[in-house]
């Protein structure tokens, strides 16, 4: 289902369109209350953004003429599925001289296969090609 958003009318989503927002654990914004926190009903995972929300924000970014920001949000939507350590691991693998081409290609494949993270996979493949051309892969 595509939701049509008008940035002037619908942003900020938290106050204008709260019904569109859910945590990755399925909670509504108004369920994250102090009472719920104290009752132990809110965990750190509840204070994360859901991929659907990032795609809504990407739509807003696109409609105000910020395609790169939108693309970043779409990559981020893919990364919501990855555990923190994996995200940090891929970041470290992308540092100069840190990885062989094979290692980066494996990461890209894993992103695409296990997380349907095609945009992130593409970014890693692109890095692998540039790193090879510029001689900054690991030996």
């Amino acid at each position: 289902m595509t939701i049509e958003l008008d940035p002037q009318r619908d942003y900020p989503l938290a106050s204008r369109r709260p019904e569109l927002l859910k945590t990755p654990t399925g909670k509504r914004l108004d369920e994250i209350t102090m009472e719920a926190v104290l009752a132990g009903e809110v965990a750190a995972e509840d204070l994360r953004i859901a991929p659907e929300t990032l795609r809504l924000q990407a739509q807003i970014a696109d409609s105000v003429g910020r395609p790169q920001l939108a693309q970043n949000f779409r990559r981020a939507a893919e990364l919501t599925a990855l555990p923190d350590e994996k995200v940090l691991g891929i970041y470290n693998a992308l540092r100069p001289g840190a990885s062989t081409k094979r290692h980066l290609t494996d990461i890209a494949e894993e992103l695409e296969r296990d997380y349907s993270a095609t945009l992130c996979g593409r970014l890693v493949r692109e890095a692998a090609d540039v790193y090879e051309r510029r001689g900054i892969l690991a030996d």
Binding site: V37, V42, L47, L69
Partner: protein, 573 residues
């Protein structure tokens, strides 16, 4: 050296100098360093014979030549910029305009910000450089007041401690929030202290005025980890550089940084990149390019990565452009270029660069008078000796001067005068709240004596020593136990500070909506997001755009000492 020898009696004696020369020699500005230009090593602000000529060639929607280089010769910055930052469909039309035509568009209030963006999206680094080279500083200021993304200016403070004392950081953060700062940044002397200081900053920030966002400048991966846990609220020190060699020395590439940008967004955390003129020459590999040309490459890497904003304005390298001719003009130009390509700009005025009060004010005025998304990135909320970013261009001793300048010129630098009683109450409350959180998290206790001292202190020298080894052990346990922002909320509630707990929960809740991820977003004290979307800059010449008025202007009129016009004996505040 003798000053008594008669002229002519000793040929080796220095020539006689005038009293005036002696006075000038002793002026603080002569403690500053100045150096002549040396373009071959990049020691030139923005006018180098070695900068490339602008050019672009697009083939099948792909940029195949840029600024005199063909695609097979692109270094990794060229390729990233060509493929991600430049809109190939806009490039040829935009590049056909002359630099002065584009500069006129920037300056002319009748040309809207949106119209400029239609052109700037197609410009190469060398072309953007040519554009700003045609502009003097007044023209740049005119352009900046139109091109900054958010309508309402804001400001950022540093809250650090020479002893990494968390109690001090909390109290100074609370005071800074109360004075108007919407972002607070800390960093460490001893890095292992980071978790405790970051917790203190978060607590203090919400104790002053709710919604001030906090960050802790650390190595990239650690900074991300603190952010993911909700101990910090945003991130800024994600550095990018203008040459391939220096980028690699920084242990990153445009692709690793772009991935990091997405990593932050994937956790709902706001972030911006950092860059600045002078970093490449300082790190010894400027490829004979001018500082500004290289900085414009950084700006376009940020744009291409899809990060919402950039901290620039030389930042920690300000001594380098500050030493060469037109260096401070180049620093203004880099802020302008960031805004011109539609990025949030946290515009420097941070690291100290001059011994001269007159010179540091002159360096500040372009950003203050034009207004930027964050006029300082950071204003030091602590005395110079406590500033772990090597000092700032503005210090707490300057608070009253700042407020007077705002009032004199009716220019909004986002700060306000706050009566002492309110400041003492906020400092005290922040320290007590942190005491409660530390107790709840079983961290080394904060004593009442520390709280009393920090309420009235100026800097860490006036505070009781803490048991550093105990603190460091506790800091490690914060990481090992996986303490999160939510635990701080619970600690605040348990400590008897439900209002601060509620404010912090409100800040953490923002992650779910992602509203703060948009360009130039800040949180108001009511925890409403204000960004370039719902507060977009609408400057269109005299009588338009942001002008301090109403309640804000009334607030700006108040100073430490204002007397009644009718009764000069009476202070009206």
């Amino acid at each position: 050296m003798s000053t008594l020898s008669a002229a002519g009696s000793d040929p080796s004696a220095s020539p006689r100098r005038s009293k005036r020369t002696e006075i000038l020699e002793n002026r603080p500005v002569n403690l500053d360093g100045f150096v002549e230009e040396w373009p071959e090593v990049g020691m030139v602000a923005m006018d180098s014979p070695y900068d490339p000529e602008p050019s672009v060639r697009v083939d099948n929607g792909v940029v195949v030549e840029m600024d005199g280089r063909t695609r097979e010769d692109f270094d990794f910055l060229d390729q990233f910029i060509a493929d991600h930052a430049i809109d190939a469909s806009a490039a040829q039309r935009a590049m056909a305009l002359s630099p002065t035509e584009i500069a006129h568009m920037l300056v002319d209030p009748k040309i809207s910000r949106a119209e400029v963006l239609e052109v700037s999206r197609g410009l190469t680094p060398a072309k953007l450089l040519e554009v700003v080279k045609t502009m003097n500083v007044v023209e740049m200021m005119m352009a900046l007041q139109k091109m900054r993304a958010r309508r309402t200016p804001a400001n950022q403070a540093h809250s650090t401690s020479a002893r990494d004392n968390p109690v001090q950081v909390a109290a100074d953060a609370a005071e800074a929030g109360l004075r108007g700062f919407r972002e607070l940044e800390t960093t460490l002397g001893v890095v292992r202290y980071a978790p405790l200081v970051a917790i203190a900053l978060q607590v203090g920030a919400q104790a002053g005025k709710p919604g001030a966002l906090t960050q802790c400048a650390l190595e990239e991966a650690t900074e991300l980890e603190l952010g993911m846990r909700g101990i910090t609220g945003y991130a800024e020190t994600i550095s990018v550089y203008g040459t391939e060699a220096v980028f690699c020395d920084g242990d990153d590439t445009p692709w690793s940084k772009a991935f990091l940008a997405s990593a932050y967004a994937s956790r709902g955390i706001k972030m911006r990149f950092t860059s600045g003129t002078g970093s490449e020459v300082q790190m010894g590999n400027a490829e004979s390019r001018s500082m500004l040309y290289l900085e414009i490459r950084c700006i376009l890497v940020a744009k291409g990565a899809g990060v919402q904003g950039l901290q620039n304005g030389s930042i920690s390298c300000i001594g380098v452009p500050g030493a060469v001719p037109a260096g401070i003009r180049a620093v203004l130009a880099e802020n302008l270029v960031a805004s011109t390509v539609d990025l949030e700009c946290a515009s420097g005025n941070d690291q100290s660069f001059s011994h001269s009060d007159m010179r540091r004010t002159a360096r500040l005025l372009p950003q203050l008078m034009s207004g930027t998304d964050f006029v300082c990135s950071g204003y030091s909320g602590v005395p110079n000796y406590d500033n772990m970013f090597a000092g700032s261009n503005l210090d707490p001793e300057d608070y009253d001067d700042w407020n007077v300048i705002q009032r004199d010129l009716q220019v909004d630098g986002a700060l306000r005068h706050v009566p002492e009683a309110e400041i003492l109450a906020a400092r005290n409350k922040a320290a007590r709240a942190l005491q409660g959180v530390f107790a709840y998290l079983e961290l080394p206790p904060i004593t009442d004596k520390e709280i009393e001292a920090v309420t009235y202190s100026h800097g860490s020298n006036e505070l009781p020593f803490r048991e550093v080894l105990d603190d460091l052990k506790a800091a490690q346990s914060v990481m090992d136990r996986g303490v999160s922002g939510l635990d701080i909320v619970k600690g605040l509630e348990a400590g008897g500070f439900p209002d601060i707990a509620e404010a912090l929960l409100g800040v953490l809740r923002q992650r779910v909506s992602g509203d703060l991820l948009h360009t130039s977003a800040i949180l108001t004290p009511e925890l409403t997001t204000l960004s370039a979307i719902n507060d977009s800059n609408d400057y269109a010449g005299p009588g338009t755009g942001y002008r301090p008025s109403g309640a804000r202007w009334e607030e700006m009129k108040r100073l430490r000492h204002v007397v009644s016009a009718r009764n000069p004996e009476e202070e009206v505040g």
